[in-house]
Assembly symmetry: C2
Homo-oligomer: 429 residues x 2
């Protein structure tokens, strides 16, 4: 059998990792794929950078899009990144040239995935993206194939290693967000501009892809309500722990009543929940199927090895001739689910307020809750900090988000409440 010849665009850590996997495990991969898989052509900005891999037998092209048309390329791996620009051009050209595409590009899929899937489907080509979500965890395959017999009601998880690293260190070391972020940037765990990660956008990209696979619905990235981790303070971890919870940035999608609920937000999870013990740069995803029950997947969410492992798994599938629809069914069959109104969603909430340490403040706060029908499961007031403010921490009973938001707005109008209140969801399922 002739080898599968790969054109590789993007030679950062993951690109170099793909070359390493294909070299180091060449014999094993050939047995599993039924044929050899070899990189024949590459494209990257800097030819001279030392990458720790031998690229001497590969052709180099300056414009990645040229990989699509090359005679010595059977399949293109896109690791350029970015939702549009060169990555999208290469993706379109590859499919237009009648070649399958492997990509790790969640931003491109979140924005153009349906479009690209439609093109791939019409041409009978594979478009595979195991590496786009949760690194080395084969969650795309697990959802679209392993759990395919199930109607899935909910999928949620920790899908951003940078956020999980920051939150884990804040928790373990009692540090505030800004300090850990600076450390993480210095150590290379966070980007100079960290907003894609810490504001939840990266998680939202991934969540929108998982939701489409789980529910058989159209990707709706614009419908993801997105809140990052900048507002969380060291004090929140202490209070959450005292209540038996850990704080994580959770991407959560649910389909019910013909509506799609998608949200990225910091949330409190019971300390014994498997997501609560998913620490550092690990990722994890929970899938709830109507027959399989709760499935839990955990592994390294990023980095050279895990991501390259996922890319090569896709290449092995392609080498074997496995062509599935990119989203598990024809694009035309994907349901258009309108977004659920988050305001009507019910749950328990964690609230933290900084308040002036004087008589009558608690009365104001509890009146604001009463006025909007929010009942309180527990309330703790902690004595004044150095700046003279006291801290009030509350856990509500089941209530709608709209009620909580209205209560908080009323509290914020009071001069006794200093600073922005912190509100987090408690996910106790």
């Amino acid at each position: 059998m002739t080898p599968l010849r790969v054109g590789l665009a993007g030679l950062g850590n993951v690109g170099a990792g793909v070359v390493k996997v294909l070299e180091q495990n060449a014999e094993l991969i050939a047995r599993r794929a039924g044929r050899a898989i070899v990189v024949t052509a590459v494209s990257a900005r800097d030819r001279s950078r030392e990458r720790g891999v031998d690229l001497s037998r590969c052709a180099w092209v300056d414009d990645a899009a040229e990989l699509a048309a090359r005679d010595d390329v059977d399949v293109v791996v896109e690791l350029i990144g970015g939702s549009d620009g060169p990555a999208l051009t290469l993706a379109r050209r590859t499919l237009a040239a009648g070649k399958p595409l492997v990509t790790a590009n969640k931003a491109m899929l979140a924005h153009h995935g349906l479009d690209l899937a439609g093109i791939a489907e019409a041409a009978g080509l594979a478009l595979k993206y195991e590496a786009a979500v949760a690194g080395g965890i084969p969650i795309i395959k697990a959802l679209s194939e392993g759990a395919a017999a199930n109607s899935i009601a909910r999928v949620y998880g920790l899908m951003n290693g940078t956020c999980n690293y920051i939150l884990t260190r804040m928790d373990a070391e009692g540090l505030d967000f800004d300090d850990v972020l600076a450390d993480a940037q210095a150590a290379g765990y966070a980007e100079a501009d960290p907003s894609f990660d810490v504001d939840g956008i990266d998680t939202a990209h991934k969540l929108s892809i998982l939701a489409a696979l789980a529910f058989g619905s159209r990707i709706d990235f614009a419908g993801v309500a997105c809140e990052g981790i900048r507002a969380i303070a060291a004090a929140d971890f202490v209070q959450a722990a005292a209540l038996g919870f850990r704080i994580k940035l959770v991407g959560l999608a649910e389909a019910s009543g013909g509506q799609l609920f998608q949200r990225v937000h910091p949330a409190l999870l019971p300390a014994e929940h498997p997501l609560a013990t998913t620490s550092g740069a690990l990722n994890a995803v929970v899938v709830e199927g109507d027959f399989a029950g709760r499935l839990f997947f955990q592994g390294r969410g990023a980095g050279e090895g895990p991501t390259a492992s996922a890319v090569v798994a896709d290449l092995i599938d392609i080498a074997r001739g496995d062509i599935r629809q990119p989203f598990g069914m024809p694009v035309a069959d994907l349901a258009q689910l309108p977004p659920a109104d988050p305001a009507v969603r019910r749950g328990r909430y964690y609230l933290r307020l900084a308040v002036a340490d004087r008589a009558g403040v608690l009365a104001e706060i509890t009146a604001a809750l009463r006025d909007h029908g929010v009942s309180i499961e527990s309330l703790v007031q902690r004595g004044p900090a150095e700046n003279g403010d006291a801290m009030v921490v509350m856990v509500t009973h089941d209530t709608s988000e709209a009620q909580v938001v209205a209560s908080l707005a009323q509290m914020e109008a009071s001069p006794a409440v200093t600073g922005k209140p912190v509100k987090m969801h408690i996910l106790d399922f």
Copy 2:
């Protein structure tokens, strides 16, 4: 597209579950499979039993093997069980008739899997068995496809819900094995003859299948060293917890130095290890890949819903025309790895002895350890129990199993040691 017509042999809980999944999620499954999947013919011992599903449109056959030749059957699902007998006859007839086979039968695969895979491969037929290991967890797919780019060094997990249920209750309620087993039998969680489960044989069947997939090696069920959970006492959980460990029945396979190590045994896991918190009837599997790193999968390991979910996932793959070699590569390519000698394997051990409460006993025990070069990390003697015996609990430093066995043999020869010592491995990776 014409429907995929299923002949279903065995209508216990799982068989009825398969009918339910295909009915309840028919529309979704058809979208994912690209065609409808319908049960057209069934076989079971008792036609009259109420199963909660409508079988009125299915043909009934008395001899399951007849399903293979029927014109209205495209694929056979074997849920009869047992390594030989009617299950094996049906499997052979199905493949001989040129039809794909789906089975949940780990015993049959452990004993005849390579033989059946060879037949399927020669005929270009699918032989799929996602339901044979770890119920609803798509671990077969994860290992053979999701992690296919990796050289896998180790795979281990909790694969028997009955044992995990018993151990979890012993731990939580301080009960001894016999009491929980009797309860579990009364509640239907354990068989009247529980030996397949509690002696580790069921786990060994499953482990031998996972090892073949993980390492690209031939199934070697006979090479699994197998020890069950009957010797564990309530006291062991107390001592293990004090040392920071939980006790689980672990199936563990490693490939190194061209040898295959396969073992089922009760073992101590650090309390923070994800397997340690896998409780009750849950199953979980850890896969260690050279690039993906540690992957962890957890879910319901048995029962109607999860197992049926796995069977139907296989049917969807078959409906889509996904034909892979049953063990991820041609049978002829599977390596014949000789079994590793467990005696030379190094690790830490937990040892518990009942000893007479008199002077000189500790000297005898420590001399036995010294004589065989076993060094001790910690040793605790607990005061005499009601019967007058004292308990000695030890954790060794890294040592070979042969050394531990020799020390224990020397101790057992002493009249001061009453009863059989308990020895368990500490798995701290």
